[in-house]
Structures are given as structure tokens and as C-alpha cells.
Symmetry: D2
Subunit: 286 residues, 4 copies
């Protein structure tokens, strides 16, 4: 068993009350686990919500681990009515990318993937345009062209859904089509989008042009989980870059694209490392 | 005549066409001026607007300078249909402050004023609350309390206008009342406001609370010229600071207040140095 | 007992090994404590060091709390050979400031103190110059002028030590004298300094001038604990600001002073909240 | 003649004295030029140096342009003893890259090149290792492997010089060999290096490890012109990114590499656009 295979990750969210940490850490200690890292957050010590992310090593085979999880459910999770997930880091997330014509977010994430920066395996790129095929295939990753024709979007979404089946995460590296609520519901895995503005400012189309007209002094990018409401899902990460009166909309787009790919990559990396927990329509990022 | 007295500042805006810089610089050179700094901007070389800010030394007495300005008008400004202003830097801008109860932007700007950071003289602080009197008077600056009572705002604005007469610039250091269009029209000098969000996000009241609910990862501040439309005037400067899930609305407010005072001070300083030119609803900051 | 009085803070550092978190959290839970926040860090899961900062509420009177601490020592701290500290947050740190002539870091920290941003009570300002007396006394804080004359530094340090006796923290808000190793040893409490460069670049005197000559594109500030070696103690916080070829050394100093006061204030605030733990010559900031 | 072909760029540096701008702009205006952008900087109005960068359109054929430059030399440049350069932007700079094994700066600049972000043509990549051949050739750019063996460096430098002949700019995208003074002298074109620290801190080898040991809270990158003195040439651009106690040296390297490629790309882009002028051992960046 390799070093990385030995690490187990545990995510917990529940109503806060005394004894949670004691119960979790005692259970892990008695099972022989060694805690490698631990983060917790309480929205309010009185009546708030409790969130925890823990990594520990635990030398067990697969069967023992399954039994360990069952005992955790009974002895710890149920008494505290926890939402929880536990799994071994040795299984990286399977990731599919959706993209249109812009290459910057796509190439950056493919490069980070090749470099081993992500705890995830990018297994497929789906695009509504054929333009980026050669770039994707140069990384040894399959590329599927699914055109989205006017009036035939539902059909395209069915093809996309068939291709995306079995993936744990879908990431939109500047995919310029709106995903329908039905699509999201059938997909049933998290979808991360990169929006080219500092949300909630300039939601929707053409944010750089609108930023230019408004005369803002910083342009930004926002990575968020996709929900049926456009550009309104929980924000994972944001950043900005300074612009001046010298920059026309094309300059803003060029400067912004550097921020887009950085913000997108951070969000995908953090999601793959299970650092992002949901709380209402916001995120906790450990 | 002191070194600083010798500096003249020239601002120009006009339709761009060939020969502007040649005409201006030739006129200045023949008059014996020595250019100390010069910035220019063209929105578009074909059919765009031209903006220029120039500083030069010109050893003249007051009468000669008046004659010099007349000749500039005839020989240079009129042929190019320029909007222009020229004056000696030795006359600092007279500034009045309006404030409510928050002290951070006020104290910061008073301290910078005392330190000599601003090319301006703060001569008065007007507040709708009496709370900050001692702080202001400790800086040797008069403090006037003008309560704004419900239903009697117009009356209060008349008192304010009487107090503000003769000032070149009014700055709102977190003044929590909306200024009426009539007030702005009668005041007839620039008004700079600091808004505690990264506009256009979270215009209006309660931006930190709304930022918290939206789950943004950065909070910001925006300094802008005041126009009758709330929080929509030309933006002079903006900045942001990173926040996390750990920060409640009070934390966002504390972190944000550091950004507010910095952004506010930069905008006031730049305005006093005549670095901010208007172009439609945006600014050019040299 | 007020809400804030009920919070107890616990800091731990020790060699990492399995069971630490379980032992601590079980002990706290059985004593009736409710954990409000908890941060931990392991430098290396195998043979590394373990650091923890915990805040919990524990409804006890003073005598019960003393007994609680004794039991913690025996039952938890000794078996793991912990370095540890535990105390109630209701007792703020007593802080003394040393300063020379620059006012920016001093006024900023006095203002934050007045605003209630610090968990500490500033009780005294000691200066080798009389200049800032009025500013300090306006905040209702005693000011002591202790001149440091050439050849009589040891004498001045003895006077300073007498004044500083009983304080938990000494902060140097741009104090332009080097503190001797003997002074530091006799003082025997932490000393935080703000250095006006991005250390280790430009340690020693005149950093802005040297930054200007070197042509750096960012200037910075560093808050660190003072050790006998000049400008080489553990770094608590750093930040930078962008400068251009337009800025002479005076401009760099002006821009830098904004960063100095921000970095200084953060470091003092974090120290007062016991967020800063030492590890070799570096810090862990929770 | 295409739109971009019509732009001429003029760089000037000379001792500052009255009349420079007037002479230049009058000459250009009389020749029929239309100034598109203009930046100037005076280190000191009295006895300082003057720097200018100007872009203008001038509809001339090649022969007329040569005559125009001759007249500029006689009528303007000589009277003011200017160092000056003038050329048409239609001729992009020919760029060669030197690299070792790290791919991040290389791939980023090749991607920006393909995207049309640089005013330059990357024509060759030379490496002392064969590793990156496929990546480079995928961009359609020749790759030359020139091993640098111990004791045979001079020989390798001769091969490199032969390959680099005819290029206007050499950029070191993490090239891990020191270039000899003889090499630089024979090369006789500017060389831009990216150093993985915030110079002057951590010059030389292993900066991330040393940054980690020092406990700095920000790591940086510096792009500079190469001079015979290691890591001490004029700085073009710098930036930093925040790190915490959680980050080991590998994390610092990962985070830093994002800053390296950004800073490197900005420096190369600005150099290609002739925005970087030298003043003693520093740069003016217009």
C-alpha cells in the first residue's frame, strides 16, 4: 500500500453541540488512526452548524475499512445526526471538462493535471465546437464534439449526459451554453463554472464590456458551483486584477483571462481535495 | 517665490486630432516653461477623445501669468476646441468633509492632511451627529453639527449649503444620508463618496451583510463622484481584501473599513492633484 | 460572568504522535467544555511537531478553573510532554508601546485600541523623543519621554525597564534604537517590531532608499518578534505595495507607511489573540 | 499597408532640459505624424534624465521613412544629444528561449505567443536537457538540445551562440545554468531571466527552501535583465503570493511557479512593446 493510499478523508456537517470532536477523535484513536490534518468551523457556538474535514492514516485492508466505516456510522455519526462522507484518497476523482472555444482555462487545467497538481483524473473533454481537439488530444485525453444546434439543445444534452455518465465532477472551462435544470438534475454530480466577472457584479453575458462601460478599476473572476439559477450558485473562489483607463475591452479580457484560469484551477483543486463544504448558498473552504 | 509656487498645472480634454501636443508644447516652450510631468490618453486615435495633464514651471508674476493664460486660450485652446483648466499649484483646494458616526475614513483623512499628504486644506467638518466633535477639534479643524431630522431634510441641506459655500471639494467620509439632486446642483462642486462595497456589486444599504449572505470571497470599497443616481457616479478608485467563511458580517466590516479609508484617501489625494478626468461616466486617472 | 469572560484559550505544542486530539478533546468534553474554535498543525505526521490552538467555553469559577488546569496538566499535558498554556480571555494583555518620531504606526494602533479591535490594553507609550506626547495623551494614555543619549544607552534602558515592568507585550511602533540583548533578557516578554522592508531584503537602516536604488517594483513591511540579532527574529506578518519608476524615496516611504501600519496592527492583533506560535525561527499563525 | 504596419515607435533618453517635447512633437506634426500614445518621465526637472516613449502613425513608404529618420537625427536628436531608437512596429522582435527542465514558464510563453499576446516571434528553444522537445515541437517551434557538460561549458556556449545568432532577444524560461560574461558579451542582445524569489531576497540557488526556512509570509518572483553579476541586473517586474505555515517547500514551489510564469510573461511582453527603458541599474516601465 503506497503512502498516499493510506490516507482517509472524513467530511462532517451537523448541528453544533458539545462532544463532537471528542467523539470523532476518540473513535479514530481507538481504531488506530493517526490524524494528519484537521479543520473545523462553527457558524455559531449556540445553535449553529458544525463543519469538519479530517485526514488520517489507518493501516487497514479494504474489508476492514468497510467495517470501520459501518462502526463509525453507528457509534459516532448517528448519535450526532451527521451528514458525513469518508473515503480513501487513493481513489482520485474522475473529471470531465466542458468547453467551447476559449482555450485558456482548458489548457491550464490540463497542464496542471499532467503536472500532478490535481487529485483527480481528467478523462474527457466535451465541446460544442471542434476547435480545441488537437490541443486536448496532445495531452492524451479524449475529445468529443457535441454540437448544440438551435432548437435541438435537449438532444445535445442527452448526448452529453451519456458521455458524462460515471464522472464525479464536471468542470466548465468557459462553456458558453447555459445548462438546463433538467440536465443538472440528471447529471447529479457537482458542476464547477468559471465566470469572467467578480460576481454578483456583471452576472450574465458580456461582463468585460460592461465592466469597461462602468469604469471599474478592477476586473475579476468567480468560480462557483452551478445551480439552475444563472451565475448564482455557491461561490468557491474569486480574485481580481487591476485595470486602468488605458485598457479597452480586449485588454480587460486578456488580463481577466489570467485571473480566470487561476481562480478556476484553485476551485477545481480544492474541490478535488474535498476542501469545499456547502452551507446554505455559500461555501466553507478549508 | 517658493519652488512649489512655481508649478502650473494644465488639464485638457478635446476631440483627438493631429497637432495637439505639438501646439501645446511649442506654446509652453516659447513662453519659457519647463515641463515637469506630462500624461496623455487617447480613447481612440480615430475619432476619439484626447486627455492631457501637464505640470510645468514658469517664472512669472501673477499679472504675467494671467496674460499667459489669455494667450493660451486664443492661440491653442480655441483652435482645438479644448476644454481646459490652468492654475498654479500654490493654491491648494479648500475641502469640506461630511460625516456621520463612523470615524475611520474621517480620522485617516485628517491625519493625512496634517501630515501634508494632500494638496488641499480641510477647513470644515459637517456632521449630522455630534459624536466626532472632539476628534475633529483635536486636529484644530472646526466641526459643525447639522442634524437631519425626518421630514426636515431640505432645511438641513440649506444649512449645509450655507456652511459649504466657498469650498472646492466636498468629501463624504461615510456620510449616511442621501444628498438630493437639488443639493448637488446648488453645491456645484465635486463631491467624492466612499461606498463600502466593490461597486456595482452591493450598491445601496447594508453591503457587508449582503456580501456575507452571498458568500463572496473578497470585500471591497469604491470611491466615486456623487451624481443624483445613488452609488452610480464615475468610479475613481477601488480595492478589495480577502475574507473567508470564518468572518461574520462584523469581521467583514472591520476588514472592509481598512480598505475604505485607503481607497477614500487615494481618491481624495488624486483629485486634489488633478489627476482625475471625466470621460462619460468613467474616469481617467493619470 | 459576561459572555467573553466564559472563553478559555488553550495553546499546545509537542512532538506529534497519535492520540493527542482525542486526549485533549475527551478531557474537555468530560469537563463540560464546549469547543468554539480549534486549529491544529502538524509539521510532519512522522516525527514532526504538533501545534494546537483551541477556544472553549467552560462555566466555572476561578477556583474550579485552577483545579481544572491542574488536572489537565496531570492527565493530558504530562503524558504527551506538552508545552502548553491555558487562560481565560477575559484578561486582556497589557501592552506598552515604544516609539520614536514617526506617528503612523503609533496612531493607527492607538485608534484600533480605542475602537476595541485588540484583545489588549495599551497602558503606556515610551519614547526617546518628546514629539508625540500630545497625540498620545489625547487618547488618554500616559506618555513617558526617556531620552537615549550617546554613551548613556544602558542607563536609558534601565529607566525603560522600570517603566515596562508588568506589561505582557512590548510593541515597537517605529522605535529607531536597537534594543540590547541584556535589555531583551531582562524584559522577558515578547517584543514585536515593524520593519519597513520585505525582510530578509533590506534589513538594517534606510530600506526605502536602498529599495529605490535597487529598483524593486514592490516595497513591503515586516512585523517580527525581536531577537538579539537585528531584524532576524521570527516573522509574524508581511505585505507589499506596488511602486513604479515615478516614485522617489519619499514616495516609497509614504506608500510604505500605509503597509507598515497595516502589517503592524495585524501582528499585534494576532499576538493578542494568541494566534502566533513559534516553531524554530518561524511562526505558525492560526 | 495594414493598420499595425503604420505604427512607428520612438524611444528617447537624454539629459533633461526645456524644449524637448516641443521639438519632438513639432517635428512629428510637421511630418504628418499622428501621435497615438506618449509617455515621458523626468528623474529630476533640474539636472535629471529625460525618458520618452512615443507611438505615432505616419503614412510613408520605406524610403521616405529612412529619410524621415535621418532628418529627425539632424534636426532633433543631435541638438539634444539624445540616445534614441525609432522603428516600425510591423517588424516583431525575434525571440529565442533557453530552458532546462521546468516547463511552466516555457509553456506559458509559448501559449501567449500562439495567442498573439506578444509583439514578438519565438523562433527557437534551446535546452541543456532533451525533456521538453515534444512540448515545444507541438507548438511548431524548433527545439535544439545543447548539453552542458562539466568542464565543457565554453564549448556548449559556442554552440548556443551559433544557434542564437540573429535573434533580438533571449529569454531564460528557468534556465538553470549561469551564463558567462563572455557569452553575454558575444550575444550582444538583451537577455531576460526569471528568478524564483523576490529579489534582492534569496538571490542564488534554492530560494524556495530558504524562504521556507526564513518563514516569510509571501513568496515572489522577479524578471530582470541578465548582467554578469548573478541575479543583480535591472529588475523589470516582480510579484508575490501569500503562503502560510501549512506550505512546505514543495507547496511554495507550486504556488511560486504561478507567479513566475505571470511575471516572466509580463516582462517579455513589455520588452517586446519597448516599454522598458534602462536608467542606471533600474528600469522605467511605461
Amino acid at each position: 500500500m503506497s503512502a498516499i493510499a493510506a490516507i482517509t478523508r472524513l467530511l462532517i456537517s451537523c448541528a453544533d453541540r458539545p462532544g463532537i470532536v471528542a467523539a470523532v477523535s476518540r473513535f479514530l484513536h481507538e481504531a488506530g488512526a493517526n490524524i494528519v490534518s484537521s479543520d473545523q468551523h462553527t457558524t455559531d457556538p449556540e445553535g449553529g452548524s458544525f463543519f469538519m474535514r479530517m485526514e488520517f492514516t489507518l493501516p487497514m485492508d479494504r474489508a476492514e475499512h468497510a467495517e470501520f466505516e459501518r462502526r463509525f456510522a453507528t457509534a459516532v455519526a448517528e448519535p450526532f445526526a451527521m451528514h458525513w462522507q469518508m473515503w480513501q484518497v487513493s481513489t482520485p476523482k474522475r473529471i470531465a471538462v466542458m468547453v467551447s472555444r476559449y482555450d485558456h482555462c482548458l489548457l491550464d487545467i490540463l497542464w496542471r493535471h499532467r503536472r500532478g497538481e490535481l487529485e483527480g483524473d481528467i478523462g474527457l473533454v466535451v465541446s460544442n465546437h471542434p476547435d480545441l481537439r488537437a490541443d486536448v488530444e496532445a495531452f492524451g485525453i479524449p475529445f468529443e464534439h457535441v454540437p448544440v444546434e438551435k432548437g435541438r439543445k435537449a438532444e445535445a444534452e442527452q448526448r452529453q449526459l451519456a458521455l458524462l455518465a460515471g464522472y464525479d465532477l464536471v468542470i466548465l472551462a468557459r462553456y458558453m451554453q447555459i445548462l438546463s435544470a433538467e440536465f443538472l438534475e440528471q447529471l447529479a454530480v457537482p458542476v464547477i463554472n468559471i465566470h469572467h466577472s467578480f460576481l454578483p457584479a456583471f452576472a450574465g453575458a458580456g461582463p468585460y464590456q460592461r465592466a469597461r462601460e462602468k469604469g471599474v478599476k478592477l476586473v475579476g473572476a468567480t468560480a462557483h458551483y452551478v445551480t439552475p439559477e444563472l451565475d448564482a450558485g455557491p461561490i468557491i473562489e474569486q480574485d481580481v486584477i487591476r485595470v486602468t483607463h488605458r485598457g479597452d475591452a480586449a485588454t480587460l479580457e486578456r488580463l481577466g483571462s489570467d485571473i480566470e484560469r487561476t481562480v478556476f484551477a484553485r476551485a477545481v483543486k480544492w474541490h478535488c481535495e474535498d476542501r469545499v463544504l456547502l452551507h446554505e448558498n455559500t461555501t466553507i473552504v478549508f
